[in-house]
């Protein structure tokens, strides 16, 4: 069974706040749910499938009660920040199998208000098999991604200047997003002059820490065609975990090498066909590695590919993250996947700021890396088409 054409994204909503100390996390989920359903022209009563991940307080059971939903299909898959990209695929599968017809995906959180950040040690759950062999060493979000960057530089000659171009592109896009947390355009020199956090990643190689959230509504084709919204069709998807492989790990590639080809095959398209891409940007290195692994350039050539504005809308060959991405716009709950889908939907509908809108944007890719690039992460790829 393929999910090609099995479902449409009918509703998308991004929470406007970047700091929300007066909202509970559950309330952020609820506000996003209401926004996405209103965007689709549907109601809470229409929802018969619900999807959420580890940011949802109390998981699917607490959230279904809080939201007042009556559903017949549940999915709490958690692969970190890429969970919601996989949820779109899972929703399409469930719709194709007749398990639901209107799937609601929500996420939200407030790490900024709660004082969490990527330089702090990760929280350890009991009985997790790998953590006794990692947690004494002080792994954090930033030094895990930094180790992958260090080895990539060693093997392929990737430079800090090349990584900085990814931040420069994000800042160019963010200047047109009134909700973006950081809106100042920065230069390569400014990225390199920002404080070193974990060699070789500077502060401006890191995404923001923000509150916020988002929601999506994925529906059966019959429902999509009766809604007065542009049609954004699910074309293909792939997902893959990557871990330390019993000690045989290679940190210069991500799980995108597996999830990407599956998605392209299912959609029947190639990287050259993609007009716009939302590429998870927890750190600049994340973008570079994913672009290589998805086949937008040869392995090891990511540095050249991202340089000289090639990722800037209207300037380069592959516009990415036209909302400013995690580097500038937001990274709600330290999980950026849902905003990646939302911006791709905006591009396909032609609803972004005209300054960053990609012309004739009829085919988009969304890709996420959730978790740790140097320990365990979940890769998810999604290809969407405007009909």
């Amino acid at each position: 069974m393929s999910i090609k054409g099995a479902a449409y994204i009918a509703g998308a909503f991004e929470h406007p706040l970047r700091k929300a100390p007066d909202l509970s996390v559950a309330a952020i989920h609820a506000e996003c749910a209401r926004g996405a359903l209103a965007d689709a022209g549907l109601t809470f009563g229409d929802v018969d499938g619900y999807f959420c991940a580890g940011d949802a307080p109390g998981g699917v059971l607490s959230m279904v009660e809080y939201l007042g939903l009556k559903v017949r299909h549940l999915d709490g898959t958690d692969i970190g920040g890429s969970s919601y990209i996989a949820h779109v695929s899972h929703a399409a599968q469930a719709i194709a199998a007749g398990k639901c017809r209107v799937a609601l995906i929500t996420m939200g959180g407030r790490p900024r208000s709660e004082g969490r950040s990527g330089v702090k040690q990760k929280i350890v759950a009991a009985n997790v098999p790998d953590t006794p062999f990692e947690i004494p060493y002080g792994p954090t979000a930033v030094n895990e991604y930094a180790m992958a960057a260090m080895r990539h530089m060693h093997d392929y000659g990737t430079t800090s200047e090349q990584l900085a171009w990814i931040k420069v592109a994000a800042s160019h896009h963010a200047q047109y997003n009134p909700n973006a947390m950081l809106r100042d355009v920065v230069t390569v020199e400014e990225v390199l002059a920002s404080p070193m956090i974990a060699d070789p990643l500077h502060r401006l190689d890191c995404c923001v820490v923000s509150d916020g959230g988002g929601a999506l509504v994925v529906v059966h084709p019959d429902i999509a065609k009766n809604l007065n919204r542009p049609l954004v069709r699910v074309m293909g998807a792939g997902e893959a975990p990557k871990g330390l492989q019993g000690g045989k790990t290679n940190l210069t590639y991500s799980g995108a090498v597996w999830s990407g080809p599956k998605a392209f095959e299912e959609a029947g398209v190639t990287p050259q066909d993609i007009k716009y891409a939302s590429i998870y940007d927890s750190f600049t290195i994340t973008v570079l590695m994913q672009l290589e692994d998805l086949g937008f350039c040869e392995k090891g050539q990511g540095g050249k590919f991202v340089a000289d504005g090639n990722l800037i809308s209207g300037v380069g060959k592959l516009p990415i993250n036209t909302d400013g991405g995690g580097l500038n716009n937001n990274h709600p709950a330290s999980r950026g996947g849902i905003v990646k889908v939302i911006e791709a939907v905006r591009q396909l509908r032609g609803e972004t700021n005209p300054e960053v809108q990609v012309k004739n944007c009829d085919l988009a890719l969304v890709h996420g890396t959730g978790g740790g690039l140097s320990s365990r992460h979940g890769s998810a790829t999604l290809i969407l088409e405007r009909v």
Binding site: P129, M147, M150, L244, G247, K248
Partner: protein
């Protein structure tokens, strides 16, 4: 000047039943990894069932305790420390810290040997943790 290694409080790891021998050996300054009798492969972190061939014929093997740095990153925010992956001479790559050296002089492919640091602190001491330090090249 350089960035000289400073001791830091390492989080005490949970000791799971299948890893008791590993932590007991660490007290004696020995690094244990697992070897599989079915496929002949080493693996790390240690498991009851081999992650490569899924046989249960795994047994403890005392690593030489030498290897080279596969990758690393020095945390510059707060007290500096060097997280790394070391590739053991037996093959597996393991997460670790590089210690007892100038952190600014750490390089990929540098030869290193194991040294153990105790986790926790004086009031609440924990297991000994396998770290690595550069081997003098003269």
């Amino acid at each position: 000047m350089g960035t000289i290694y400073q001791d830091r409080i390492m989080t005490i790891p949970e000791v799971h039943p299948e890893h008791k021998e590993y932590w007991d050996a660490a007290v004696e300054g020995k690094l244990l990894i697992k070897k599989c009798a079915s496929c002949g492969e080493f693996h790390y972190y240690p498991r009851v069932i081999c992650p490569h061939c899924h046989s249960d014929k795994t047994s403890w093997f005392e690593a030489k305790g030498t290897g080279h740095i596969y990758t690393y990153s020095v945390m510059r925010h707060g007290k500096p420390y060097a997280i790394a992956f070391v590739e053991l001479d037996e093959g597996p790559r393991m997460m670790t810290n590089i210690v007892d050296c100038d952190l600014d002089e750490i390089r990929i492919d540098q030869k290193v040997k194991v040294v153990f640091k105790q986790s926790g602190n004086q009031e609440n001491p924990g297991s000994f943790i396998a770290c690595f330090t550069p081997i003098e090249s003269d």
